[in-house]
Each structure stands twice: as structure tokens, then as C-alpha cells.
Symmetry: C2
Subunit: 416 residues, 2 copies
């Protein structure tokens, strides 16, 4: 009888080398976010299928790994559809379980509640290079804080974390869903066309201003609206001046406080930041999920395309689940992407313990053997890693292998 040796389609085994980096990053996350007062919680990987299918998960709801009912509950003969067969599924994100957790435990939780979640999620996506069907998500969320204190703390915590990871520079881009909407309204787009406009706007970094203009026109939007819209983007600068410009220009369609708050977030982060990064105002930042209600942000590492994290304010989502309006704001760090970048640049985990391998010749007399164990134990007390090994016939190969594993000190013990 033989096993299928490969992992299931789209999932992967993780080697000691990658695990070392993962564990290091996870430790750093716990430490850094802990210092900002975030508390770790955990929810089961399996969720009620009703919760997973509640239309909050967008496209992800099509990608659920569903779990078969068990025992008498499974009635195969009378099952008409998938729904009759399953009662659970693997979670596709950590936001839905957080909402459930909060609804279930709100009375015992502090307000605001600052949660840190690190855990696997599953999506039955088409397998592709570098994207897996099981992957780690890492979210921080502040529930119950209506002011921009939440945004500032989330951005400072995340940038402090990324700053500890030896990347040269990184950039935080920030926008506000209400500014996005106000810019569209000011230009004369109809409310029900915003989604289409934003999907096109979202391509700005790929197709440029002219590409956006072309696609907007192709959609049949009035030329006047399109040119008014694009003019805004030409005039606005990616800084506090840009925010101020929009505050004045969008007067009447944009609440002044929205612009002032955004400016204060940027200024606070700029003033306090300890790491080497920029925070820029990016009026083209859209972020896909429709549940965002206020500031939105993304973090990217200079020299690498794509973002390594993002988030924003979603004041209406928790209430839709719990029945109680609860302001909420979160930042999700792209754990897998960060680990991949660190692996690619052959990142060395700092402050590694020294590694010593003891090679013990066969048939060592008992007293000598006990003494070797004692020596190993002594060395471990100093913080050194000590691995005990029986000496092999091909000692050169054995030593090479140990050196490749990072053992810098190899001590031989002979029977005589």
C-alpha cells in the first residue's frame, strides 16, 4: 500500500528553511502588534456554511472548501443539491470569523477591541505560481473606535513591523472611499455608475491616465464628465497639498472633515514614523471590497510590484452581522508575499543561535556516552543548538550534510 506523496492540489509542504523565516516573521508580528496593544484571538478553521455563504465574502464564496455532513445527518439518497450535503466549510478569510467572534463575545471584550489574528484560510482558486489554496492571513482590526486614532495606530503598527524586516524602503498609499465618490460626483458621473468608474480608475498604474480616459469613453460616459474627472487627477499632488486641493475643489460634495481627517492621518504617520518609508495620498487607490466606508490604504515595498498589505475602515459590516452598529477598521498584512520576498532575497534570520553537532562513534562505553550527553546539556544551557548524531561510515558526507544544515561546530567523540 502506498501513499499519494504530493500534497493535495494547490497546497504545499513547507520546508525547514521556509519555516524558519515564517516563524521569525510570526514572532515579529506578535511582538510588534503586541506593543501596540493588539490581543491575539483565534477562531476555528471550520465555519458554519450559512455564515460563509452570507454574501459578505464576494467572489470568495465561490471558492469554499465545503465539508460533508457526518453520520445520520448525511442523507445521500434524498440530497437534491450540494447544499443538502454540507454543514460547514473552511474559512476563506479572517474578517467573517472576526465578526462572528465579536458578535458572540462582545460583552466580555474591551471597547475598543484591538484584535490580532494569524491563521490559515482556504480558497479553491485555480492553482498558479506563488498562489496556494491554503495560505496564512494576518489581520489587525480595531472594533469600536470611530475616530482616526484607529487608522493611525493600524498604519503605525504595520509600518513598524515592515520596517523591522530589512527592506530598503516602502510606501504607504492612502485614500478615502468618500473622496473617491466625491471626485466622481463632482465630475458628473451618476451614482450607479461609480463601481464601473472605479474599476477603470483602479487600472491607472497599469494603463496610465490616457488608458483610463480611453476606457471611460468606451463605456459611453459623457466626454465632459470624463475630462473633468481626469483634470482632477492631473492637478492633484500625492501629498497634503493634494488633499487640501481636493478639499477646496470638491467643496459641496465632500465633507470637509473627511479631508481634514485624511490630512491628519498622513501628518501623524509622517511625524511619528520610525522606519524608512513614505506615506502618500493616492486618489487613484480604490481597493476592491465594497464594504469599505472611509479611509483605505495599501503598503508596497519599493522595487517589487503589487502590494504587501492593505486595509481600511468598514463601519457597516459588523453591524450587518450583529445588529449593533460597530465602527471598525483593519489592516491585513500579506504574510505569504512577505515570506516569499524574504526567501527570494535569501534573508538570514537575525540572532540565530550557534549550532553544534556532536558525532558519537558506535559502541561507545556507557560512562563515556553519559558524559557526552552531559556536555551537550551544558552547551544547550548557553543557548547553543546541539544535535546528537551517531557517527556514520561516510563521515565526510555526514559532515558536509551537517554544514549545509548550518552546523558550524562539529565535535567528534570516539569510543576509545
Amino acid at each position: 500500500m502506498s501513499l499519494k506523496k504530493k500534497p493535495v492540489t494547490g497546497m504545499k509542504d513547507i520546508s525547514p528553511k521556509e519555516m524558519e523565516i515564517r516563524n521569525y516573521v510570526m514572532g515579529l508580528i506578535r511582538e510588534t502588534y503586541g506593543q501596540f496593544g493588539f490581543s491575539a484571538i483565534e477562531t476555528p478553521c471550520v465555519e458554519h456554511i450559512e455564515n460563509l455563504s452570507s454574501k459578505q465574502g464576494g467572489e470568495n464564496e465561490k471558492l469554499i472548501f465545503k465539508i460533508l455532513k457526518r453520520g445520520e445527518k448525511l442523507k445521500l439518497e434524498s440530497a437534491q443539491s450540494e447544499a443538502d450535503l454540507v454543514d460547514g466549510g473552511l474559512r476563506y478569510d479572517l474578517t467573517l470569523p472576526l465578526s462572528r467572534y465579536y458578535a458572540n463575545n462582545a460583552n466580555d471584550l474591551p471597547s475598543p477591541f484591538k484584535a490580532l489574528q494569524m491563521g490559515n484560510v482556504w480558497r479553491a482558486d485555480r492553482p498558479q505560481r506563488g498562489r496556494y489554496r491554503q495560505f496564512m492571513q494576518c489581520d489587525i482590526d480595531i472594533l469600536g473606535e470611530p475616530t482616526i486614532l484607529a487608522e493611525i495606530e493600524l498604519i503605525l503598527a504595520t509600518s513598524t513591523l515592515v520596517g523591522k524586516l530589512d527592506f530598503e524602503n516602502f510606501t504607504i498609499r492612502i485614500n478615502d472611499r468618500r473622496i473617491l465618490k466625491a471626485m466622481a460626483a463632482y465630475s458628473g458621473f451618476e451614482t450607479d455608475s461609480y463601481d464601473t468608474v472605479f474599476i477603470i480608475l483602479d487600472k491607472m498604474d497599469k494603463i496610465g491616465l490616457e488608458g483610463v480616459e480611453e476606457e471611460l469613453k468606451k463605456e459611453g460616459f459623457p466626454e465632459e464628465a470624463v475630462s473633468k474627472y481626469l483634470e482632477l487627477f492631473q492637478k492633484v499632488t500625492p501629498d497634503l497639498e493634494g488633499v487640501k486641493y481636493l478639499k477646496e475643489t470638491l467643496n459641496g460634495v465632500l465633507d470637509e472633515k473627511t479631508a481634514d481627517d485624511l490630512a491628519l492621518i498622513i501628518e501623524s504617520v509622517e511625524t511619528v514614523r520610525t522606519a524608512n518609508f513614505k506615506i502618500v495620498f493616492d486618489p487613484t487607490l480604490v481597493r476592491g471590497m465594497s464594504y469599505y466606508t472611509g479611509p483605505i490604504f495599501e503598503i508596497s515595498i519599493d522595487g517589487f510590484s503589487g502590494s504587501v498589505g492593505g486595509g481600511g475602515r468598514y463601519d457597516e459590516m459588523i453591524g450587518r452581522f450583529t445588529g449593533n452598529q460597530t465602527p471598525a477598521c483593519g489592516f491585513s498584512i500579506g504574510f505569504e508575499r512577505i515570506v516569499m520576498l524574504l526567501l527570494e532575497k535569501d534573508y538570514q534570520v537575525p540572532n540565530k543561535a550557534g549550532k553544534a553537532a556532536f558525532l558519537i562513534e558506535k559502541n561507545m562505553p556507557k560512562d563515556k556516552l553519559l558524559d557526552v550527553f552531559r556536555q551537550a546539556e551544558e552547551k544547550r544551557k548557553d543557548g547553543t543548538v546541539v544535535s546528537m548524531n551517531m557517527m556514520k561510515k561516510n563521515k565526510k558526507f555526514q559532515k558536509d550534510q551537517l554544514t549545509a544544515e548550518g552546523y558550524t561546530e562539529i565535535v567528534e567523540f570516539f569510543a576509545k
Copy 2:
């Protein structure tokens, strides 16, 4: 639309308080086992259903959470049985995935390979107090080491770990499957009755010697065999003398090396141990899983019933999967049980950082606010946890809540 608020049946949400202890214990495990040269690996939570159903998992195979096929592969109309509907399942232990991992990666792995696995497993057991359907397992295994060096290292690593956890005393009980069998053979039991004999023997700590005698007789075993068997248990002592006694008495049915090796394991561990524990020879120790082939061991904490971990040598299992005989030995620590015991005794994680809460009055002028952020950042540099909070109307309640969360320093910042 409202969510189901409770977790799915038999699984639990984990609070910040429990997470603090879990993360501390996990860190200690990584550090301690790391010092013994174990490398962390990880496998997907989802396994091929064929692997999970390969008859290696014993009773656990009845408890699998099975995962529905997706897309075109799911043919509901033509499905005759459960097996037609599923292609994966959640792993019920970490030993099967380790075998698959080893089979898939053996060429790139050092020999011996010392693996540390920490991860969730799932069993659709009848829910009961303190036992959950998702729980963490924590295994160390040494693959490719035929000598008792493996047993000694596993026991030293595990006892070092438990010793760091502030329990007063603990005990490691050790036996050998070959001694178990030799004792039964010596007494005159037939080979095919061993399993029945061992199941009864396993109850010794509950029903005592007389209870075992009664049950063996009730099974219809010859009186002579029963009395010869029990006499052995009366004469043997739980120490090196006991091993020596059996070595002499079982001469002819027990390989001398088995007894000598067991004695050397006990003596080595006794000599080298740093923590406060006993290692005793327990000829009544059975360990359920039939795959064990040599030494078996369990660890229990004095004053608490049941074991908090166990393991043994299983030299034939990996080969059955991979086709290549591979000696193997493992020790699994009862992570959930240890966390439960620590929670019950209100264990305080050592070396906790100081915790300060900053309370910020509403409408704080910008310059002042930026200064508060700067002060927080300074304090964090010293290692202090700093949580920023808007000052609430009911400040007394807010302070009480923060104190309950462990914030010992509360600093107020006023707008004027």
C-alpha cells in the same frame, strides 16, 4: 441577515487570555526543541482522502471531516456513496502527513531527519467537556536513526520543555513493546491473544492487579498463564533492577539487547536530566497504537490524572508508506492538556512587558496630538506595550476596563 454566532459544534473560539498562554507555550516548544536540533516543518491541513483512509489511522479514520469535490468533479446525480463525493479531508493527526512529507522530500532531507510539527488536527468525536473537534498537536519525530540515541534525545527534549513550565514534578514512564510481548510469551499466552491481554493489562492503574487477574480469567485464558503473568508483575520493580530482573527471567524469549537498551535509556535520562522528574520502568505501559515496535513512553504531571504526552518507536510505519524501511521514533506532547492545566492554575506568562494605556481627550489640538503619538513611540522603544485610546465620558469605567486588561500605567492627555 444575521450570523450564527457560536462556533461550529465541538470547536471553540480562543480568547486573548488563552492565546497568551498558547503563544507562550508554542514559543517555548520552538525554542526548546530547536536547541535539540529539531527543524519545524508544516503540511497542509487538507490531505488526500485516500491517504487518510489508508488504515494507518485506526479508529480516527471514522472521525474524518471530509471535503466535497468541487466544480465538474462533483457528480451528485451519479454518486453512489460518500466516497464518490469527496476528494480530501482534514488531517486527524500529524504522523500520516509526516510520512507523506518524508516520502515526498526524503532526497532533500538530512539523515536522520529531526522534525518538529505543531498544527491543528480535526476529529469528529462526540463533543465532551475539555475535548474539541479541532485541537493542536505537537510532535517531534526522528526519522532514520535506528539507535536509542533517538529515544534519549526525544525524552530529554520533552522533559526539558515540561520542566520549563513551572509544574512541581512529573514522571516519565517507559516500557518496550518487545518486553510486553516477551512477558506474554513467557507466561504462555498465544501470539494471537496478545492484543486482548494488553487491552486488559492497560487497565492496571484503574482496576489493579486483582482486577486484571479477574478479567483475564473471564476471557478464558489458562489459569497457569494468568498466574505466571501476574507473578511477573508482582516481582518486577519500576527501576533498573526491574529491567534486569526481566532480562534474566525472560531469557530465551527476550533479546538481551532490548533490556540493555531500555536500561541505558533510563540511565542516560536520569544522569543528564536538568528538570525535576522521575523516569520509571513501567511494564504495564501498553500505548494503544499497534504501530509501535520498540520503546514506548508516556509523560504525566504529578497530581493530575492522565498523561500529557507519549510516544515511541515505530520502525515499520514509514516503510509501509514509502517502500523504504526507515527507523522512526516520536514523542507527541499533549499541547491542549498542558494549556488547560496552565489556565486552571491561573499561570502567569513570565517576563511580560509593561503595559501603558494613553487616554486622549477629544478635540486635542494637532500639535499636542502629534506629541502624544511621539511619546507613545518612545515608550514602545523601551519594550513597553502602549495602547492609545480616546478618553471616554465614563472615564472610571474605562480605567477599570483597562486595568482588568492588565494595563498598570494609565496616562491622561488633555486638550488644554
